[in-house]
């Protein structure tokens, strides 16, 4: 076989933050070869976070910000195919089969297919009126359904569920959130933060039912009610399932690339196939900060991985990597988290939640592992720096909001 793959393009599957950042990163590093970006969606690639935040608000603009303006792709000779997917991957021949039946060869393949909303595993989940929220079209459809008086039942009190709950309440809907756990955002934050946001939502008219196991969605032609294990029935005009996401790893998995709840990648985004990389929500990797195997749904991580992939393919220096971080805005209140908390981390509250502006500091073996900031960002950037340094912080000092986190770290006995 003739080795002519250097004349083939880098094919990037998926045009979310990771995919577009790989394309941009290759050009920034002087990659001269072809770049082909295959996007399941037709539109110019756009920012996802506004979909569940700004875009759902009544009267807000319906166009999410673009990741790059349209002209950028032409200027950079990045070929963009919209509205097609990659159906399969021939690793031996280094080609992909597109959904229009055409086949394209690649020099390197980058899988940046992201994740999709986990489907509600109950009867009736496919009825019209049960909606997901991952794309611009999903968001616009949902926005049209959020009219005053509509009964909105949200399954799952995570980021997405709660952001939708806030937007729906703002639009005058009657909002019920059904959550299996006993508090909101239990997977990502601690009790004090959960309780704060629960109260905030309640004050804005949102009703919560905790310990609720959804068993069915019922209706004749479309969703009319949601049923839970205890036999309760919740009338619904719109049902939204926000019960997490699953990685879109099928392309890799079917081609025999190692995947385990995410495509497994190394520090440069390389998969078990030396010609195939992956970046973004679809990957599972070892945290450079604490060695944990993780799959993160996080733009910062997607961009850092994309940068690593571009570097591995085209060479050049990586950009500075940030500590993973996450944010949500609900009823105008911002929760911003630096680092990844573990459920057994020690929890220290800084400030008074009743005042609507406080932080929660998480300590693991005396070291700062994560910080939640609520209603303010004073602790956010210092926290990222201290987490990266593995700073030790005395819990009593951390509890005092009059002492900055940097001062608290500096005053902590390193042998603590």
């Amino acid at each position: 076989m003739v080795e002519n793959h250097a004349t083939e393009p880098i094919i990037i599957v998926g045009a979310g933050h990771a995919g577009v950042a790989v394309a941009a990163g290759l050009r920034t590093r002087g990659w001269q070869g072809g770049i082909l970006l295959v996007d399941a969606e037709k539109e110019v690639p756009y920012e996802r976070p506004p979909l569940s935040k700004e875009l759902l608000k009544p009267g807000a603009p319906e166009e999410p910000t673009l990741l790059r303006r349209e002209k950028y792709y032409e200027d950079k000779a990045i070929e963009r195919i919209g509205g097609l997917t990659v159906e399969s991957l021939d690793r031996a021949g280094r080609t992909v089969l597109l959904s229009d039946g055409s086949r394209r060869g690649y020099h390197r393949l980058v899988i940046a297919t992201g994740s999709r909303a986990r489907a509600l595993p109950v009867p009736g989940a496919d009825l019209p009126g049960v909606q997901a929220l991952r794309t611009r079209d999903d968001a616009l459809e949902l926005k049209r359904a959020l009219v005053a008086g509509a009964r909105v039942v949200i399954i799952g009190a995570g980021y997405i569920g709660l952001e939708v709950a806030a937007a729906a309440a703002k639009s005058g809907c009657e909002v019920t959130v059904l959550e299996f756990q006993d508090r909101v955002m239990s997977r990502v934050t601690s009790e004090p933060v959960s309780r704060f946001f629960e109260s905030l939502h309640q004050a804005n008219g949102v009703r919560f039912v905790f310990g609720a196991a959804v068993t069915a969605v019922e209706g004749t032609d479309r969703a009319e009610r949601v049923i839970t294990a205890d036999g309760s029935s919740y009338g619904a005009d719109v049902v939204i399932a926000g019960i997490g996401v699953v990685p879109n790893q099928e392309l890799a998995e079917q081609a025999g690339i190692d995947s385990r709840d995410g495509i497994l990648v190394d520090g440069h985004g390389l998969t078990s196939d030396p010609y195939v990389y992956a970046a973004g929500d679809v990957t599972r990797f070892t945290s450079p900060w604490d060695g944990a195997s993780q799959r993160l749904e996080c733009i910062q991580s997607a961009l850092a991985q994309a940068d690593g992939v571009a570097e591995a393919i085209a060479g050049g220096a990586p950009k500075t990597t940030e500590i993973p971080w996450f944010w949500t805005v609900q009823h105008g209140v911002r929760l911003q988290t630096a680092g990844v908390r573990h459920p057994d981390d020690e929890t220290v509250v800084r400030g008074t939640p009743a005042e609507g502006k406080f932080s929660v500091v998480y300590l693991r073996n005396g070291r700062l592992s994560a910080v939640d900031t609520i209603g303010g960002l004073t602790d956010f950037r210092p926290a990222k720096k201290l987490i990266a340094e593995g700073a030790r912080i005395d819990p009593a000092l951390a509890a005092n909001p009059a002492v900055s986190l940097a001062e608290a770290a500096a005053a902590t006995d390193p042998k603590n």
Binding site: Q300, L303, W327, G376, L377
Partner: protein
């Protein structure tokens, strides 16, 4: 080719003009010009990776910074009270044509 140009001084001190299209924030213009602006929050005043310094007259003519923006900036590398902005929070305005923007150092 648009006439809306901004002069950018990068972290190595080199200056070059870039295009700034109406509808774009200054951050988007910098990013589309391949300047090393990470913008890891996509322009929502949540990170601070798009920190720039503006000329005094321009800085003064722009609106007040939000509390979030100030809280993120005060701890940023090289913070200057009379010059630091998150470029994602600076929208296009025709009178900004020809402005000089200096990228702040990376943390």
């Amino acid at each position: 080719m648009s006439n809306n140009e901004v002069n950018v001084i990068d972290r190595e001190g080199a200056a070059r003009p870039i295009e700034w299209e109406p509808e774009q924030s200054l951050m988007e213009a910098l990013r589309d010009a391949d300047l090393p602006v990470l913008a890891s929050c996509g322009g929502t005043a949540s990170c601070a990776t798009c920190h720039v310094f503006l000329e005094k007259e321009v800085f003064d003519a722009l609106g007040e910074r939000s509390e979030d923006e100030i809280e993120l900036l005060v701890d940023a590398e090289g913070y200057r009270e009379d010059a630091s902005r998150l470029s994602c929070q600076v929208g296009f305005e025709s009178h900004l044509d020809g402005l000089t923007v200096t990228l702040a150092p990376e943390d």
